[in-house]
Every structure is written in structure tokens, then in C-alpha cells.
């Protein structure tokens, strides 16, 4: 049942499956599925039935045909595009690391640093701008806005730029000199680039892991628990002893249900009995108890259905026989049938008090049946 229901979309809440939804409609759909399964229908047939009524809309995973195919293909395409894009970007970044052209000459660098330190060096407008940028960078670093690694990295970049400007302004001679590889440059630049690449990779890995963890744990932790609350008693602290009942232990569920019923907590009782029925769909005591609750709530028809279901799996269920008689007699006015039902109940092994009570009720009903005009006569008196 759950397998079919969890593949169907609840028409009320839209984003929940029929199995997860607590809406009345979903409950009735679940009941319908159980009835159909019991009638010998195959799961595909039941699914097809719902599709014929609500269209493809009702399926949580659309059939891979026509427009539905898009939903199946898009995630794969997206993953491929994402992986491809990441690979391309990583490649570009790793190429950019060592790429920055020939590191500047030590002499040039020291001249730039002197300018940054504020020593009087004659500078053109372009050079002054580069020096200003370097000064700002150092200011940021000293203000703690940059890590040492980033600072060194950026400083190397800015100095290279400044050197290029310097070379351009000072003519070709010094420019050629500046282009000669300096011994101290590359060994310092490369580790920085490598560390950067690793950092990116680690960040990417972390993000992927984080996403996967959220995707896995979140749906688990917010699934609807007993009573339909997504957090259960975790936030409210309203832990009831019922929550400790093992969801598959039918006798314990029945006992808890009976207890809740005695304590007038019908909502909880219904929950226990329904869970018992999910484990054992034919369980007569749970059906009969649900019937009694329904009867008390004034749903005579559904109560009668519940009693009949209970009796179909156990024709001697005392609770169901008693309840069915009550519905027939009190709510539907079919007293003759009620008396017949109670007579079947009297054939069972009843406790003396119960037997006496049933006998008195039957006697009263018979009286009413025999003397139907009597009340009318009484009223004329």
C-alpha cells in the first residue's frame, strides 16, 4: 500500500505523497488502495486508475514519455554541464597561476618598493597610479583585511604590473632587461598558485559534501512523524508515552489505542489504531475500535463500514458485533438487523455483566420493534 501511495501526489497538499499527507483526501485514497489491493488488483492497475482520474499529474515521478522525458533527462544534462563547467574553470584557473608573464627584475621591484614606502622617486602619472594601488593594498593588509598569502600574491601581481608600466615608460633597453627571468620570482609565485588551486578544490569538495549531506539528512529529519508533525515532540517537548510504542507491534498499538480511548483522547486512539491497521490491514479489533470512535463522532456510515470490515476478517469480533448493532439501531433505524447482529453477539463467550447488558438492550429493541405504534399511542394519551 505504502509503495503505491508514496508514488502518488496528494491532490490537496500538492507537494506531499499520498502516503505522507495527513489530509482527509489522502487518507481516503490510502483506504481505497488497501481495498483495491484486497480485491486482488495489481499495483499497476491501481496506479493506472488514479492516472485515469487525475491525469499524469498524480504521479510523483512522471512516466518517461513526451514532456515527462525532460524531467528525467534534465538532471543528467545539468550534472554533465556542471561537471564540464567545473573542469573547464579549474583548468583555466590552474593555467592562470604560473601564466603571469616574466616576473620583474629585482632592481625594478626595489625601485617600486621604495616608491611605495614613500621615498622620493620621480614617477610618471601611470607609475604613480600603480604605486598608489600597491600602497592601498598594503594598507588593507595592515588593516587585517587580507591574509598574508593573498597579500603576497596580489603584491606580486601589482608589482609585475607596475614594472611593466615602468618598462614601457623607460624605453626598450630596460624593458628587455626586466623581461629576463629573475631568480627569486618563480619559486615564490608557484607555491602560492598551487595552494590557491588546492583551496578551490577543497572548497568545491566541501560544498559538494555539504550539499549531499543536506540532501540526505534533511528529508530524514523532517519527515512527518506520528500525528503529522514534522518535528515530532522534539521542539515542543510534548512527549507522550504513545510515541514509545513500537510502530510494528500490533498488540502494543491496540493496548495504547484502548488506553487513549478510555482517556477520551480519540485523536490519539485513531492514530494508534490506524498504525495497527497499516501493519495488519485486517486487524478486527483496530477496525472495530475505529468504528466505535466514528460512531461516537456521528459518522454512522463510515462506522458501519469499519464494523463490516472487522467482521469480514473476524465474524466473531465482539466489539464489532456490538458496534454494528448500535449503528443499525441508533443511527440508521434498522432495528431488526441490529437485533439479529446482537443475537450473533450473544452466541459468543461474553462476561456475565456484558451478557446482561446486551440482553437488556436487545429486549428494549425488540419491544420497540414489536410496538412501533406504541410511542404514537403514548403521545395521544
Amino acid at each position: 500500500m505504502l509503495e503505491i501511495a508514496s508514488g502518488l501526489r496528494c491532490p490537496v497538499c500538492q507537494n506531499l505523497s499520498v502516503a505522507d499527507s495527513t489530509s482527509e483526501m489522502a487518507r481516503e485514497m490510502r483506504a481505497l488502495i488497501v481495498d483495491e489491493l484486497r480485491a486482488g488488483k495489481r499495483p499497476e492497475e491501481i496506479r493506472a486508475y488514479f492516472v485515469s482520474k487525475y491525469g499524469e499529474w498524480i504521479l510523483l515521478s512522471p512516466t518517461p514519455r513526451g514532456v515527462g522525458l525532460v524531467v528525467w533527462i534534465l538532471p543528467a544534462l545539468g550534472t554533465l554541464a556542471g561537471l564540464g563547467g567545473t573542469a573547464w574553470l579549474l583548468k583555466r584557473w590552474s593555467r592562470r597561476g604560473p601564466a603571469p608573464a616574466p616576473p620583474p627584475d629585482d632592481a625594478v621591484v626595489s625601485r617600486i618598493r621604495a616608491a611605495v614606502d614613500g621615498l622620493s622617486v620621480t614617477l610618471s602619472a601611470g607609475e604613480a597610479r600603480q604605486v598608489e594601488a600597491l600602497q592601498e593594498l598594503r594598507f588593507d593588509y595592515e588593516a587585517g583585511k587580507l591574509s598574508t598569502l593573498d597579500y603576497e600574491d596580489l603584491r606580486a601581481l601589482y608589482e609585475a604590473r607596475a614594472a611593466a608600466v615602468l618598462a614601457a615608460s623607460e624605453g626598450s633597453g630596460e624593458g628587455a632587461e626586466a623581461r629576463a627571468p629573475a631568480p627569486s620570482g618563480p619559486p615564490r609565485a608557484r607555491p602560492a598558485a598551487a595552494v590557491r588551486a588546492w583551496r578551490w578544490a577543497a572548497a568545491a569538495l566541501f560544498l559538494v559534501g555539504f550539499g549531499a549531506a543536506i540532501g540526505y539528512f534533511l528529508p530524514q529529519s523532517v519527515r512527518a512523524r506520528d500525528g503529522g508533525s514534522p518535528t515530532g515532540d522534539f521542539l515542543t517537548g510534548t512527549r507522550d508515552q504513545g510515541a514509545s510504542v513500537d510502530a510494528r507491534d500490533v498488540p502494543a498499538l491496540l493496548a495504547a489505542g484502548r488506553q487513549a480511548m478510555e482517556g477520551q483522547q480519540f485523536d490519539r486512539a485513531i492514530g494508534f489504531f490506524r498504525r495497527a491497521l497499516e501493519v495488519d490491514p485486517g486487524e478486527p479489533t483496530a477496525q472495530a475500535s475505529l468504528g466505535l470512535i466514528l460512531l461516537r463522532a456521528g459518522h454512522a456510515d463510515r462506522a458501519l463500514q469499519a464494523f463490516d470490515r472487522a467482521l469480514s476478517s473476524d465474524p466473531t469480533s465482539q466489539q464489532a458485533l456490538w458496534g454494528k448493532g448500535l449503528v443499525l439501531h441508533e443511527s440508521l433505524g434498522r432495528t431488526a438487523e441490529a437485533v439479529r447482529t446482537w443475537e450473533a453477539l450473544l452466541l459468543q463467550d461474553l462476561s456475565p455483566q456484558d451478557r446482561e447488558h446486551v440482553l437488556s438492550v436487545v429486549a428494549e429493541a425488540r419491544q420497540r420493534l414489536a410496538g412501533r405504534p406504541a410511542p404514537a399511542a403514548g403521545s395521544t394519551r
Binding site: 459518522h299 454512522a300 463500514q305
Partner: protein, 188 residues
Amino acid sequence: MAWKRLALIFGVGLPLLAALAYGFTRDPREIPSPLIGRPAPPFKVRLTDGSEVKLADLRGKVVFLNFWASWCPPCRAEARLLEASWQRHRDQDVVFLGVNMQDREEAAREFLREFAISYPNGLDGGNRIAIDYGVWGIPETFFIDRNGRITYKQIGAFDGKTIHAKLEEARQGVISREEGKGEYRSIR
């Protein structure tokens, strides 16, 4: 570089935006019914007066099948209109049939009394009929022609003209391509 960026914007961004914009024009609750033009699912329902009616018994007549509940404001809003339309059409070969769903019997009877509804109304315990008709909002109305085919479906309350026009179409066996829509409530 510039043309690449433009291509990216127009090739990916715009279609994505268009798809999202289209999505916003749709009612996410709407479930298009596959039943229009098909034979109406057969059912048997117990009426409030205790008798039973089968859809098959109404073959040869145009059936106006209205799902409602006493707790639904649009149902209240259209109740008088439905009764008035019934009074207008009752002498013709038209049957109005209300199906009360997701409701308490007492509340349903009170509703019928309040609006002095005179056409037959059934009680759909367990909502099997509603599921059979793929009901997802309330009120929901199906027009069934003489041959038992669904010709039109309206989700939500009616305005005055539609009922008359669609009954006329159902009488001629004309099947509407689109569903009608008024104010509705989601079922529970």
C-alpha cells in the same frame, strides 16, 4: 568575448526566464481533468431522503453533477444560483444532483435546509465518488450528456450565464475543450 556573453544571456538566460515567467502564470493547484469527453464514471449514492440513485438510471437525461461541502464558502455562494437554475430547468430533461463530500451529515442537511435546496443530494461517505471523478477543489461540477459522457467541468463557483449555456451544450452533446473556473477552495 562580448558576443559570447550575449550568446550566453540570450541562449540560456532568456529561455530560463521565459520558462519561469510562464510558470508564474499557471495555477499550481490546477489539475487538468482527463475525464472530459469520456464516459462519466458510474456510481450509486445514498440520497438525503434515504433513497438511492444510480448514475445509470439517469441515462437519457442531461445530468448536472455538483460536488459540494457545507464548510466551503464558494459552495455557499453558488447555492442559491444552483437552486434557481434547477427551478428554471427542472421541466426539461435535466437532472441536478448534488454530492456532498468531506462533510458531516448534520452540517450537510443544515446547508440544504438553509438554502432550501430542492434537487436531490447524495452523501458520499468515504469520498469514493469524488476520487472517481478526480475532484481536487470544491465546488466542482460535471455536465453529463444524454449518453453518459462528460461534456464540461467547472472548478469553483458559477456565474449565472454559464450554467444555462453549458446545459444547452450538454443537451446537444457538445464537448467543451476547456474547463471553467470560478472561485474555489481546496478540498481537505
